[in-house]
Every structure is written in C-alpha cells, then in structure tokens.
C-alpha cells in the first residue's frame, strides 16, 4: 500500500460523510446505560462517593496521585453538594439520551462519569471503563444530528430539513475502534493466563458463588464443555476484534456477539456490563438496514396499536 492509497483509505474511513442514524442510536443506548448505572448506585451515592465514603478522597489522592479530570476536587466536600452533583449528573444523562443540548450534555456526562470513576477506582468493572472511554469520543461526535430533541427543535424552527444531514464519522470510528480493541486485547490478556490456555478458566468463573446469577444446566458445566467454551471465548473475542471490520463477516460476528453477551448476562451477575458493551454494536450496522428494521417494526406495531385504539 502506497502512502497515497493509505491517505485515501484514511480519508475515506474517517472523513467521508455517513448517515447520523447509527450514532444517534448509540447516543440513546449510551445515555440509557449511564442513567441506569446512576440509578443502581442511587441508594449508595454517599457510601461510595460521599465525604465519609468507604474510601476517602484524601486516600484516593494518595494511592492514585496525579492531576485528573475530577469534579470532586472543585465541589465543596459536603454530602449535600455531592448529592446535588449526582442529581445534576442524572439530569444531563437524561438530556443526552433525549438529545437535548447534546454537545453540552455529552461533555457534562463525560466529566461527571470520569469524576465518579476517578473518585473510587475500586468498584469499577469493564462496562464502566467502556462507558468512560467511549464517552470521551462521544463529546466530539455530532450525536444530536438525528433522533434528538435538538433536531426536532431545529426542524420546527425551520433551521433543518426533513432529512438529517450526513456527518463526519471520525469520532464514531474511534468509538468503534474502542469496541474492537476491547475484544482483541481481552483475547490477548487471556492468552497470558495458564487457566485459559489449559481450559480450566471457565470452571473458576462458574464456581465463583458471588458472581452467579441464574443457574446453568449441569451438562454445560461438564469439564470438556467448559474447556471448549474457554477456548471458544478466546477465539471469539479475537474474531470480534478483527473480523468486525470486514463487511462480509460483520453481521454474523455481531449476532454471535449478542448471543455471547446475553449468555453472560444470564449466567453472571455483572450489572449492565453486557449492555454497556452492546451499546456500540449499533455503530456497525448499515444505516439502510437500521431504517429497514425500523419500518418493519413500525409496520407490525401500527396495526396492533390501531386495533387497540379502536377497541377503546
């Protein structure tokens, strides 16, 4: 590949305008996951992040030194201020989901999300980290260009037409890159572990009592199946990281990814971890297919809604 052809490919990948639809759906899913995360933590906001939290701010600063984007360093150290911070965070998460003041909302959501994670790094899972790193790039993306209140208001005011304008995809590409990188790196990490290589890793995973959610059938926990499952996990994560970029393999890989995460959601108690990662899948779907899916859903729902309306 010459430098000229590389530049063309780079420009085509990062700068050729595309439909804003996948990014808009990602924004909605992302905002929903952030909102749910906050609501799940609601009863323990102050236990984890308050003045007298499980880990104090001074201890965190000592064990994790360095300058960080952390709003807790600027708000007064008072539980009432901290509670207010969370309520404001929640409002901006809802605004981001709805696509209201989208750019501002995305910046606030990122700042707040990274602040609470920097405040206590000991309770984070991979889903939290994924929300944080993709939230960084979401700030730079025109996430309100479709399916948003911003756009609806702009149409009402005559500032935009009925068809959404194409957007530059570079920020979306970085979010897609983060998803692929997650899987690829995860597979690499597992190859460094002797239990994944010798096939006993899933035995440990499914015998962690604190992690179990719904029971698995006994036959799935047979040693030989757990071995095969472990190796398939590594292979599968590698494929998700690499082949997701090849259109011919994309949809089958995404479908397998959805089944993979649904299986984990069923068997492991890792709240919304799976959903956090699944949010980015929509970015790999062809906008024409998204539209076709939407029309199909609408065509099935409309008669049902009409008959429901006529009965009442």
């Amino acid at each position: 590949m010459t430098s000229g052809s590389f530049k063309k490919a780079w420009d085509r990948f990062f700068f050729t305008p595309i439909s804003p639809l996948p990014l808009a759906w990602f924004r909605i899913f992302y905002g929903t996951c952030v909102t749910v995360t906050l609501l799940l933590l609601h009863s323990e906001w102050l236990d984890w992040f308050g003045v007298h939290a499980w880990v104090t701010r001074s201890t965190m600063a000592r064990v994790e030194p360095g300058v960080r984007l952390d709003l807790f360093s600027v708000i007064p150290q008072d539980d009432r201020w901290i509670a207010a911070f969370f309520w404001i965070f929640l409002v901006f998460a809802l605004m981001l989901t709805a696509g209201l003041w989208t750019r501002v909302s995305s910046v606030f959501v990122f700042l707040c999300l990274t602040s609470i994670q920097q405040r206590n790094l000991y309770i984070l899972n991979g889903g939290d980290v994924f929300l944080r790193v993709t939230g960084f790039f979401l700030m730079f993306a025109p996430a309100g260009a479709a399916l948003s209140l911003d756009r609806w208001i702009a149409i009402r005011r005559g500032r935009q037409g009925s068809e959404p304008k194409p957007i530059l995809p570079w920020a979306q590409r970085m979010i897609q890159f983060e998803l692929a990188f997650l899987y690829f790196t995860s597979a690499w990490w597992k190859l460094k572990g002797h239990t994944w290589v010798n096939g006993t890793a899933l035995y440990y995973v499914f015998h962690l009592h604190a992690l179990a959610r719904f029971p698995l059938p006994d036959w799935i926990r047979a040693p030989v199946l757990l071995k095969i499952g472990g190796w398939m996990t590594i292979l599968f994560e590698f494929c998700l990281g690499v082949f997701i970029w090849i259109p011919r393999f994309r949809y089958p890989i995404l479908l397998l990814g959805v089944l993979f995460h649904f299986t984990l959601e069923y068997s492991l108690n890792t709240p919304i971890f799976q959903w956090d990662v699944l949010t980015a899948y929509v970015l790999f779907i062809d906008p024409a297919d998204l539209e076709r899916l939407w029309y199909s859903v609408r065509s099935h729902l409309t008669p049902a809604l009409e008959s429901l309306g006529s009965r009442h």
């Binding site: 700068f15 305008p17 595309i18 984007l69 309770i123 239990t195 604190a210 890792t270 906008p287």
Partner: protein, 229 residues
Amino acid sequence: MRSTVVRPSTAKDRLVIDSMVAKNNPATVPQKSQRKRTYRSGQAESGNGAHSAASDGNDFRPGLISAFILFHLIAIICWGLPWQARPVQTVNAILRPYMLWTGLFQSWNMFAPDPTPLNSYVKAVVITRDRHLKVWNFPRMEELNLSQRYRQERYRKFQEVLPDIANQALWPDVATHVARMFASEADPPDRVMLIRFSSPIDPARGESEESPAQPWDFYDDYIDPGDLK
C-alpha cells in the same frame, strides 16, 4: 430463429440486463438494488450535497483531526495492550499523565490473565469500649435476591480487591466507615478487625468437596475517636 442466451460477463452487463428486466417487470428486481441507498456506512452518494471534508485543500481541520486521531490511536494501543516491549513502555511513561488526566486509561483484563481461584467474603468485627462485639457483614451476593444483587454488586467487586496487600492504604478508611455505623456516645467503637473468609476453587476436587472458608484477619487496629466526627 435460434434464441440467444445472454450471459452477463461483467457487473456492468448485469446492471444493463437488470434495468432491461425492470422495464418489463419491476417486481423481479431485487429490493436492495431498487431501494435508494442515500447512505452507506463508510461511503457517500455523490451529488447529494455531502462532501468529504478532506477534499477541501484550504481547510486545515482534517489535518488537525487526523493528528488527534493518530495520537489517540497510538496512546490507547500502547496503554491497553499487555505488551512489555520497551518502545511501548516508553510511550506509556511519556503519555501517562495525559491518559490519567483524561480518563482514557484502560485495561481489558476481565477474568484475565486468570480468574480468581477463591470464593471469598469480608466481615468486620467491631469491639466497643465496653468490650461488646458487633459484626458487620459486607453484602454477600449469594445471600441476596436478584434485585439486591443487581444493586449491590459493587460490594462484590470491593470485597474482591480490598484484602489485597497492594490496597492496604484503604483499610483504615474501611475500618473507620464500619466503626461509624456503630458510633455511640454511650459505648463508642474502640477497635475494628477486617476478616476475609475464603475457600479455594479446585477443579481437581470438584463441587462436592469445597472446603470450608478459612478466616484471615488482614486488618486490626484501634479507632481514633476523632475520626468518627
């Protein structure tokens, strides 16, 4: 007259034949070729007003954005890959302040390199001034219902990392937090012990032979009354 079968040899031939067929019977043309594809992931139709920003030679923004993208690709790849090569570690050392500041630090080592080989949970024992014993149990997921497990899962994560000797800086804070729960002017907390109970997971032994949990008193210290204010 002999009929002639035309076999399309090129994509262009196929399009010509498709259009000829469509004139006679539009229903035979596949839906995908009929559907107006205004957008396609990674491509744009010409003539719809969209243009590549890169095509405008007077606009320096694509160059700036490309530099931004390239910088972050290198930073994220070097930081996230489990690779100890010297150039990678050099890049990480240089970019560490930026990665920590922005929150772009990341490590995708879920259950890796190996899942934890222990089932464990933590309890705190508080001894008061009058020598009463109070016990606080960190929430154990296996003892909670589905809804509680979903909401309190952070405690599982915290119990997993807390007893690690690398996290000993957290122990006084945790002990103080527990002591505060039993704060009482009549009989204040005097001493707190943090105890981990753990049993190994052993594939060779199987489920029926799980050993009972063994205690490990990993923290034991007096509470300063001033810390409870």
